[in-house]
């Protein structure tokens, strides 16, 4: 049973949160991971999620918002089922990152930070994701796809669209 009498989260996640706050010398330390996991499950950090997280770590909602808005991976509005993150930072740029990004826009018919009308894909140009030696790279949700060409990217997006997802690794 979760310490919160009413929780928005699945029993598994709620139990995990109950434990997380005890793992650190101070409860608040669990905040950033908790937000990320909550977002994974809920799709976005809406007001209700913020309120629950705030009470779980014992800080004000304002403070939670201050933190959320600092981290680029945290967001308060839902994104697509597949969040396509194209790295265009230097190493990827040198190997076609910009082209991949342009291809995504074209193929998904959305701009940076937009979501397709069917809610399946959203697109974001991101900073270096740690795939420099295997550039250019794209991350879909948490999955890395490296050494891409515009063609292999097409195939990848198609695969996501038709199979409605590859096996996700470790959360969304």
């Amino acid at each position: 049973m979760s310490a919160e009498t009413q929780t928005l989260f699945s029993p598994g996640l709620a139990a995990r949160f109950d434990r997380m706050v005890t793992l650190y010398p101070q409860r608040r330390s669990a905040l950033v991971p908790m937000l990320l996991y909550a977002q994974d499950e809920m799709g976005a950090l809406n007001d209700a999620v913020i309120a629950e997280v705030a009470s779980r770590v014992g800080i004000s909602e304002l403070e939670v918002r201050n933190v959320i808005s600092y981290y680029s991976m945290l967001h308060t509005k839902p994104r697509g089922k597949y969040h396509v993150q194209v790295c265009t930072n230097i190493s990827c740029m040198l190997r076609g990152g910009n082209e991949l990004f342009a291809r995504c826009k074209e193929k998904l018919k959305i701009e940076n930070r937009e979501t397709t009308p069917d809610g399946l894909f959203s697109l974001e140009e991101v900073e270096c994701i740690g795939a420099c030696s295997w550039a250019p790279a794209v991350q879909v949700n948490y999955d890395f796809h490296e050494n891409l060409t515009p063609e292999s990217l097409d195939a990848l997006l198609d695969q996501y669209r038709t199979q409605n997802g590859l096996a996700d690794r470790g959360g969304r």
Partner: protein
């Protein structure tokens, strides 16, 4: 900390080790520019304006974080440093709007000053500036984002200073922005400290914005008319066709008893003074029973004539006088003198909000020198707070206590029957039953049976009693014998000091000045007036008069011939039925047609505290100077009205107000909106042995008499100069005369009626402040989503002032 010696710009300086360089320099007269640094708040090192060169250190260092140590050598001005500062200003100006001509902060802007000083006269920036619409965050707070330079002062003053934590920083990088707690608006204590602390015009005030330019106002420092802490507030006044209009309240100079602090009332709730429904003409009740406008001459004649008649026909004992908590000491003193010597009655009282008489008596000889000034709440190593909720009722004291805990690691012990916000700062809290205040003292004094004591309770007591020195603040929960018990308990501790918490700006002054039926000024029993008899030149009634309740009881019996009310609304406050007063001749000196004024036969339009000069005494016994700022044609000060009525009744003005006794006089003095100037002039006059008091309407003539005659108000060395300079002087309550309870007449009734004001109310006066009303309304209509104990979200543990540790 031991002193260390170091060199700044070739000068040898000495300061305690660990002092921040910026402070050490300031003390030595070397100004180092700063945006983010603010004394007493957490260090930020964000603006980089304070960069200085330290010998043998590679990079420029921030003076705001560098702690001085022996032998260091610094340069604070050099071409290299000037260039660094210039570049920083240039960078800020890159996206800062240059709307100085219309910006509220224009002329008072730290960024303007820095730009002027470091001369970033040419902009290198050619990109379009990012414009954003101004946002209104609350009735009093507006935010203009592009003007914000992100110094984080507002965030800190709200988090650390106020413990409200309604402001945060969101996003990051160049999109970083100050954000209010409710997304698009604020829910907070509306103190406006964030506005004053803003170095630029990013946060502006709902009352002042776009109204005028700072240099078009006169700035008069005076004392806030609201609560009993008595903050100094600087009023910005501008001439208007009816006199002088107050358009701003602030404490930018940070002088005075309140330093950096003002609450919503001190900052904004001066607006009652400008209300269109202020009374500006005397009103007389005509034959049909209607109040009709009259001339001053008519009104004063009618008042004096009727009072004289009734005194003669029914005696002073049939006349009652009710004084005010918001008039000056001089007016209060004059009122009781008028009542006792001209009306011939001891039937004088006021709305009592604390039992000061009991406090003074309980302190007595043993407690001599033990009364604490308000300033001690910011420095005492340990504080016991009995009852009261200072956050609501004593905002400055609450601010000081928080500061004391934050900066001095003071220990705060709270005893209360209900949770109060200051418990967040408390070392320990003792929760007691609502009627358990007396028992709480017995318990603290060692009686285990007084409270159902558990280990926590005993731990509280042990920790408290182990304190080597303790400041005891008690609220109006304690009266009469209860007060005596508190003092008795405290005097049994190692080293205790005391303060009694009452409610209005001059509640203490009203009691000190003898607006009491049984006590003369200085708490002298009426039965033993001592030298006062000779001074006042004639017989004084020597039996205690009727208290406030008895006065109305007498009226109900038809035994009250006349009632003279100054700046008070007893009809509402005490729920007096209008019929009670139908056979009483009533004179009311008021600003508004209050419930009491509506019943009057004569209503005299009064000036308020912002429109007169004199002194007030806060609940701690700190006396401060009040200066005339606003002016409303048609009104008179209560002082003037009393003098004129008294003289029209045949009293000798010279006896009432000892004016014009000097041999040499200065004729050049004036008292206008610049009375601050005039009062400095008064110091000069006194120093040159000139007599400035040429008029019976000069309150300072009465101040002279107060200092001469009232126990506790004896002149202190340099006291008058301090007062005139706008500083507070602490007065020790008198110990000798009233000490013996045998002399105090019959057992005094408990007539204490706490005002029960909150941050956003201020008795009857508060009802006439648009600003307070709009805030109250915002809070009653807004859905409450936060706040367990009132207005602010609870910030847990380390979060309030989370950056404290940087300090």
């Amino acid at each position: 900390m031991a002193d260390v010696t170091f060199t700044v710009d070739g000068k040898k300086l000495t300061a305690p080790a660990g002092t921040l360089l910026i402070e050490a320099c300031r003390a030595a007269g070397i100004a180092i520019p700063q945006f983010c640094y603010y004394p007493g708040l957490a260090l930020q090192a964000a603006c980089r304006m304070c960069l200085v060169r330290q010998e043998k250190v590679g990079k420029l260092q921030t003076a705001c974080t560098t702690q001085v140590a022996e032998g260091q050598v610094f340069t604070t001005e050099s071409p290299e440093i000037a260039q660094a500062r210039k570049a920083t200003v240039e960078l800020v100006l890159g996206n800062h709007p240059l709307d100085c001509p219309v910006c509220d902060a224009g002329g008072e802007c730290e960024l303007q000053d820095m730009t002027f000083k470091y001369g970033a006269g040419v902009s290198l920036y050619t990109e379009a500036k990012q414009h954003r619409e101004e946002q209104q965050w609350s009735p009093v707070v507006f935010f203009d984002r592009p003007r914000c330079i992100l110094c984080y002062r507002c965030v800190r003053v709200c988090n650390e200073g106020m413990d409200v934590a309604a402001l945060g920083v969101q996003s990051r990088g160049v999109t970083s922005v100050i954000a209010p707690n409710m997304g698009d608006h604020l829910e907070c204590e509306e103190c406006g400290n964030c506005i004053d602390i803003c170095p630029v015009g990013a946060l502006t005030s709902g009352t002042y914005r776009y109204k005028t330019r700072p240099w078009e106002m006169n700035h008069v420092s005076t004392i806030c008319t609201h609560c009993a802490d008595g903050c100094k507030t600087t009023l910005g006044v501008r001439s208007a066709n009816y006199g002088a209009e107050i358009i701003r309240g602030d404490n930018r100079d940070r002088s005075g008893i309140n330093g950096d602090f003002l609450c919503i009332k001190g900052r904004y709730a001066f607006d009652f003074a400008n209300r269109p429904d202020r009374l500006t003409k005397p009103l007389l009740r005509d034959k049909d029973g209607q109040l009709k406008e009259a001339t001053w001459e008519q009104a004063l004649d009618r008042t004096a004539g009727r009072l004289r008649e009734l005194r003669e026909s029914r005696g002073g004992g049939a006349i009652g006088v009710i004084g005010s908590n918001r008039t000056t000491n001089e007016e209060n003193y004059l009122l009781q003198k008028f009542a006792r010597t001209v009306l011939g009655t001891n039937n004088i009282d006021h709305h009592r909000t604390a039992d000061y008489a009991a406090f003074v008596r309980a302190l007595g000889e043993r407690g001599r020198g033990r009364s604490a000034s308000l300033r001690e709440t910011a420095s005492a190593p340990a504080v016991l707070l009995l009852g009261n909720d200072p956050t609501q009722e004593h905002p400055l004291a609450a601010w000081n206590l928080r500061t004391d805990v934050r900066l001095n690691q003071a220990r705060l012990y709270v005893v209360n029957h209900t949770p109060i916000k200051l418990e967040r700062q408390a070392t320990a809290t003792l929760r007691i039953p609502q009627d358990g205040y007396g028992n709480a003292i017995r318990f603290l004094a060692g009686d285990d049976t007084a409270l159902p004591a558990d280990d926590a309770g005993r731990g509280f007591r042990d920790a408290l009693r182990a304190e080597p020195s303790l400041l005891i603040l008690f609220g109006s929960e304690y009266r009469g014998a209860g007060v005596a018990r508190v003092i008795e308990f405290g005097l049994g501790l190692a080293d205790a000091r005391f303060a009694c918490l009452g409610d209005y700006v001059n509640s203490r002054g009203a009691a000190d000045m003898g607006l009491l039926p049984d006590l003369l000024p200085g708490y002298l029993p009426v039965s033993k007036p001592g030298g006062l008899v000779e001074e006042y030149g004639g017989a004084l009634p020597q039996t205690p008069g009727m208290d406030l309740i008895q006065i109305f009881d007498a009226a109900a019996r038809g035994d009250l011939a006349a009632l003279y009310v100054v700046g008070s609304n007893p009809v509402l406050r005490y729920g007096i039925a209008p019929e009670t007063l139908k056979n009483t001749f009533i004179v009311v000196q008021e600003m508004f047609l209050t419930e009491t004024a509506q019943l009057a036969d004569v209503v005299l339009p009064a000036a308020n505290l912002y429109e007169k000069s004199g002194t007030v005494t806060n609940t701690f016994g700190d006396q401060q100077l009040v200066n005339k700022a606003g002016d409303l044609a048609g009104t008179r000060s209560d002082f003037e009205m009393i003098v004129r009525i008294a003289t029209k009744m045949g009293a000798d003005a010279k006896k009432l107000v000892p004016y014009g006794r000097g041999v040499r006089a200065d004729m050049g003095q004036s008292r206008g909106a610049q009375s601050g100037e005039a009062d400095r002039h008064a110091v000069w006059l006194a120093a040159n042995n000139l007599e400035p008091k040429l008029s019976p309407l000069d309150p300072f003539a009465v101040l002279d008499e107060i200092e001469r005659l009232v126990p506790g108000y004896e002149p202190q060395a340099g006291g008058r100069a301090e007062l005139m300079a706008g500083n507070d002087i602490h007065l020790e309550p008198p110990s000798a005369p009233a000490a013996s309870s045998a002399d105090a007449g019959p057992a005094r009734r408990d007539l204490v009626l706490p005002a029960a004001d909150t941050l956003f109310t201020s008795g009857t006066l508060g009802r006439y402040s648009e600003k307070l009303n709009s805030v109250l309304e915002a809070y009653t209509t807004a859905a409450r989503t936060t706040g367990r104990d009132g207005l602010s979200p609870v910030a847990a543990g380390e979060s309030a002032g989370e950056r404290d540790r940087r300090a």
